[in-house]
Symmetry: C2
Subunit: 338 residues, 2 copies
DNA sequence: GCTGGCACTCGCACACGGTGAGTGCCAAGC
DNA sequence: GCTTGGCACTCACCGTGTGCGAGTGCCAGC
């Protein structure tokens, strides 16, 4: 059971530590915050907080720093989400509005988020799992060579080369293209396989091989693209981490290069609402001294992908959460418009 | 005029310094290399090399380290390009052969290069300047909404949304698509503008606005995509830089995030053959203690893009150059096949 | 339960001196 | 004339020692 004041002390410790990066002592605390009690009292509270595991001392006779558990409590109960200032909001909008295509939206979002939070930004490309097919295009590049182009409702375009088992005429091609589109346009990825299942049968025997190949490629593309890609930025901000660099920064950079790790990281974030994972709450070892703030974004109600930032556990949670949320909203708007 | 032996001394200094990361003294040099002379003689040579500006002392009474000028001489006259081992070559080939599309080729190349050189790898997407148009596709998404898809001979696909000034019928669309393709397919980007110049005139007055818009978008895409994109990887290797980290690594990370800077960097590399830019030879300030080894690669004779690595001036030049060259060749092969 | 006082701890910064690698110079030798 | 061994000198580096100060825990009193 933590009294109101002790929570207040914890909040003060977190705030000061985030600001100064130095262990904070009882005296300094009473000076910087109006707690209405003396340092001695704060010391008692600190001892209690330490017993509960919310704060710790790097070494005897140093100030206290919050533990992961302390940050967790802070985020859950003590901190709000700090809204952005009006100029900031306007800047976001202006910056994102200038995007020309999906790649550009993602690239700009990453830059923006990195700048706003001064941390490493991670943005997942809009997901295809819940996406629908906007159009499928088939082009003949050579007699036995096709190109398949898949366009999704999120504006994403994927292409694949296809080597046909046999030459495929222009009329067959147009036929396949038309039938394919009439069946899958507007449909969800997940539904596509059964929708096209019987398609080869309706073609001439000599074309069936090619049709099957095309369908196989299409399905493969759908599956592959469900594994999302992402873009990261602001890695230079890692240099603000601490002084004991190489050890801290290295595993983080390594983790950031592993798309798999990052995707898992974002994937762990809850579907809706903001997720904050602090320090050891992150499964990945290299990220045990970082926190991840992530949130889903999407053009409609449903989140189609996630974005967030990775930074030291000692981060400005309210500000970061505010920035992440705001950016996610604007990106959603942009996507909805295009 | 540098005697043969003095060059040999310089080579030894560079090799030792790259290996140990520590200033190298006259005694250690004679012990590790068979120079056939005494330390005292080497000292004289070192004094001469220092007068000429090829080496320097960090502080009085320390060993010597090569200067940028010293590395330059080393690269130009003393170092060969170290070929990769057979297993390495095989690994490259296997790894790259598994690529599924252009993005994948680039992504794999980056990883590979970063691993081989243990440095930061930069790969430019195949350029479109010299590229030709493989196909232009027009899709109707809504009555007054089109999507333009441009496919290049390097396998790249670009798409753009187009809002038409007036509704555009299916027949007009097919007509435009056919005429557009018959004119530009197989042509170089640079030639496209004049090839389509008179196209609007041949359409019905009510369609001309849309045709003009489509053409404008197409030309815009061609121009925009001439500004290349690139992918980087292996930034974690930056942590092996030195001990005086933050100061060294920060500007490098910042530079790496600026695509513009990197593109310029690669752009400065000579058209054919390998380019090595050492330390201050790089225009960008943040990269004054790094070297860039870059080379063009392409599917045919002409280089369509460049790739390379960024690392400390104190790098293993022969090995790095060998790896960069080998990777460029294999990527070229892969591109030629697909 | 809060507060002031007090003794104690211990990391940090700084000064100090010894050590050793490395240098430049010089006089002698091939 | 180049090479070599000798020699005095220079400093960066490292380990030790010390003073300082921030911070703590505990306790007695209000």
């Amino acid at each position: 059971m933590l009294s109101e004041r002790r929570l207040e002390v914890l909040r003060a410790i977190v705030q000061d530590y985030v600001g100064t990066e130095e262990p904070v002592g009882s005296k300094a605390l009473t000076e910087r915050h109006q707690l209405g009690v003396s340092p001695a009292t704060v010391r008692n509270d600190m001892a209690a907080l330490e017993d509960e595991g919310f704060i710790a001392q790097p070494h005897t006779s140093a100030g206290r720093i919050p533990t992961d558990k302390g940050y967790r409590l802070f985020v859950d109960r003590l901190a709000g989400v700090k809204p952005l200032s009006t100029p900031e909001r306007r800047a976001i909008q202006n910056f994102l509005d200038a995007s020309v295509d999906l790649d550009d939206v993602v690239a700009r979002t990453v830059r923006l988020l990195a700048q706003l939070t001064r941390q490493v930004a991670v943005v997942q490309y809009p997901s295809l799992t819940r996406s629908t097919v906007r159009h499928v295009e088939l082009l003949s590049l050579a007699p036995a060579r096709l190109m398949l182009v898949l366009i999704t409702d999120t504006g994403r375009v994927e292409q694949r080369m296809i080597d046909c088992p046999a030459p495929f005429g222009e009329t067959s091609l147009a036929d396949l293209r038309a039938r394919l589109n009439s069946r899958v346009v507007g449909r969800r990825f997940a539904d596509v396989p059964q929708l096209v299942q019987d398609l080869p049968e309706s073609f001439e025997p000599e074309d069936r091989g090619t049709v099957s190949t095309v369908l196989a490629t299409l399905l493969e593309t759908l599956v592959e693209e469900t594994e999302e890609r992402l873009m990261i930025g602001g890695t230079a901000n890692l240099t603000r981490f601490g002084h004991d660099f190489p050890l801290t920064i290295r595993p983080v950079l390594e983790a950031l290069e592993e798309q798999v790790v990052l995707l898992k990281l974002l994937g762990e974030a809850t579907e809706s609402g903001m997720t904050v994972r602090i320090g050891h709450e992150n499964a990945h070892e290299g990220l045990s001294s970082t926190s991840v703030v992530a949130v889903g974004y999407g053009s409609g109600d449903e989140a189609v992908a996630k974005l967030g930032v990775v930074g030291p556990t000692r981060m400005d949670y309210p500000g970061t959460m505010g920035a992440v949320r705001a950016v996610a909203r604007y990106v959603g708007q942009i996507l909805a418009e295009s």
